[in-house]
């Protein structure tokens, strides 16, 4: 089954079959990565542009490695060192990249919806590498892949996503990804970062619940995903202090005891150790945080491969 899409913008409009196809393809890519020579010629002659309007370590470098493993030509552009600094509009930048021959544009942007605007303006495939608070579909796919690989299934598992849900693109994409594949997802965080209306916003996902009590959210969980707490939330009046946040919503050994015995500990990074998670847990045997990063390359190879296949068929 091919993937019949020009762009990867979010998982909200993907069917569970399409998500499974991406995960199966990721598995095939992971096999390539296990070989002594990791490079295959699949995308030779294709040009991929990493267009980053916002800083990134792991997402950007894993898209880059993924492109190189598939033998594509990759150009890295960061907004701070480009004509964006001179006031070039998003649309003009996209048209410029297209004129330079970009077949695919990987875009990270501080604004929700920016990749959607780009996708309407250029024929190249647009891959959303994180847009504002909205979506981070490749992160959700690597999280799904990590859980699938460790637990063997997504359907029926209990996942707790903990922290600043309101401002988290990782949470939003994972709500769709895990929700569509039948996981029970509990969102947990303080009310200023987790408005009750969230449940209505995702009313099409029946297995979504909300809790303001971390112990309750962790009860019998198969996996827990801790989100990064941005320090500017205190200045914005959303939280009184890191101390209070950490006391109520920080993950530690004692709390983790409520989850299932071998429950996975996940974090999209970068971590605030000592705030949302203790260092002890971040590096414990239950932690799959580094595996998540490693799987990022295979997931992004799968995305490039499937979207390139679509482009071939459309050409």
């Amino acid at each position: 089954m091919p993937l019949d899409r020009k762009d990867l913008l979010d998982l909200d409009d993907f069917s569970s079959d399409e998500i499974m196809l991406l995960l199966e393809t990721t598995s095939a890519m992971a096999e390539i990565l296990s070989r002594p020579i990791r490079r295959v010629p699949t995308l030779r002659g294709k040009t991929i542009v990493n267009m980053f309007y916002e800083a990134s370590t792991r997402t950007r470098s894993s898209f880059e490695l993924a492109a190189k493993n598939l033998s594509a030509d990759l150009v890295n552009v960061s907004a701070s060192q480009s004509s964006v600094e001179k006031g070039e509009s998003l649309v003009d930048t996209m048209r410029t990249l297209l004129a330079l021959g970009a077949d695919m544009i990987v875009m990270r942007h501080w604004e929700a919806g920016a990749p959607y605007l780009a996708a309407t303006q250029v024929q190249a495939s647009v891959i959303n590498a994180g847009d504002g608070w909205h979506a981070h579909p490749s992160q959700a796919l690597l999280d799904l892949y990590t859980v699938q690989k460790r637990i063997g299934r997504i359907e029926g598992i209990k996942l707790a996503i903990v922290g600043d849900i309101l401002h988290s693109r990782v949470a939003r994409s994972n709500i769709w990804g895990f929700g569509k594949l039948g996981a029970h997802v509990t969102l947990c965080g303080p009310p200023t970062l987790l408005p009750p209306a969230v449940l209505d916003a995702y009313e099409t996902l029946p297995n979504l619940t909300l809790s303001y009590d971390l112990d309750e959210a962790l009860q019998d969980a198969d996996a827990v995903m801790m989100l990064r707490l941005q320090r500017e939330r205190m200045a914005g009046g959303l939280l009184p202090s890191l101390r209070e946040y950490s006391a109520r919503f920080g993950l530690n050994r004692e709390r983790m005891g409520r989850a299932k015995a071998n429950a996975l500990i996940m974090h999209p990074g970068p971590m605030n150790q000592g705030v949302e998670i203790t260092p002890e847990l971040a590096y414990s045997v239950q932690s799959v945080i580094e595996e998540q990063v490693a799987h990022g390359v295979a997931v992004r190879m799968a995305i490039f491969y499937l979207l390139a296949g679509t482009a071939e068929r459309l050409a």
């Binding site: 909200d12 649309v91 604004e111 919806g113 605007l117 996708a119 209306a197």
Partner: protein, 447 residues
Amino acid sequence: MTGINNSWVIRGARVIDPANDLDAAVDVLVREGTIARVGRALQADAPNLDADGLVLTPGFVDLHCHLREPGLEYKETIATGTQAAVRGGFTTVCSMANTDPVVDTPATVALILARAQAAAAARVFPLAAVTQGSWGTQLVEMAALSEAGAVAFSDDGLAVADARMMRHALEYSLLVGKPIVDHCEDPELVQDGVVHEGLTALRLGLRGRPAEAEETMVARDALLARRTGAHVHIAHVSTQGSVDIIRAAKRQGVRITAEVTPHHLTLTDEIVARKLNENADAALAYDVNAKVNPPLRTAADAEALIAGLNDGTIDAIATDHAPHSENDKLCEISQAESGISCLETAFSQVYQLVRSGKVTLPTLVSKLTSEPSRVFGLPTGTLSPGAPADLVALDLDATWTVDPDAFASKGKNTPLAGATLPGKVAMTFVDGKIVHAVDRFQQRGAR
């Protein structure tokens, strides 16, 4: 195509004139640009104009539009904006003060009136700002501006954020007897919100503008109007809570009036997230053309606004016509300008409410004619003998498809592109002169 000295006997139409409580099949005699008589089988030596099958009403009166001149002519001019107005049936438009420079001196009011005299297709009544430069710190010279021709005062685009400033503006307005028009959105609660704070904002990861940002300020203004005895007019009411507050204030006898836009009556925030195309699995769009302040709200809010229109809580329908250039909109949604180009779709948008049985046609016409004229004390919006012959003939059976490229307005920014709407403005008269006619009525005046 003009009658002799702008004189006509318009025959065959259903005439709705809420100012005179009239809804009947009668003739309208226009003599030298003025309404002479309304009645059955009028005999006169003026040329006959056959309006059979049409509904004839006073020309619409818009309390709130942005003509952008002076200073922002790349978005709209008085000429193009009023051309858009008459195509939409509006013969009177009140222009907002957030031009460049802001309308805060009598000279700028005079400039607008002179430009209107020279180039406008419709009657233009300018508003002036409440505070100098709309900076919110010092009152404008209301007396001088009023004498120059300002019909009301508004910092629209921005709220009068400082409650003390609003209080004094209301007090001082008693000197001139003209309303203070407030764009109610508390900047502290709005922050840099982009769309209504609701389910769409949550799903799309966009910053929200909560309903309470509007409601707290409507409540504040109602209390200050009660204290001062001055007239406050609430611009573009958008939430259920605001309707409730205004209704309660009116019951207490507070001098508070309110307007609502066609888009807040008929659209919801979900349109921001509509699909990029018709395919069921197509990606969502972030429709910048649906970005407007205050934002499009929920279906429950729209229902409350309609109820407010019907029970008199909301006095008028105003377009908040906000034309922008393509570049103002073709960018990230938070960077995009807010507003909808509305004059040419307004009537058909609200006529949908008649079609769906939610508002009667005479009520709708009153909210577009007599009621807005009453709110600002304007001499239009009526077919009383002696009134200027500003008229609109409506073809209610027609439907049409919105094509922004065909707009007279420079602003092509509408979320309704491609939509099919009911009811069409067939002819528009200003001072008895035909200023707009759709093709099939072009020749009628010659009969």
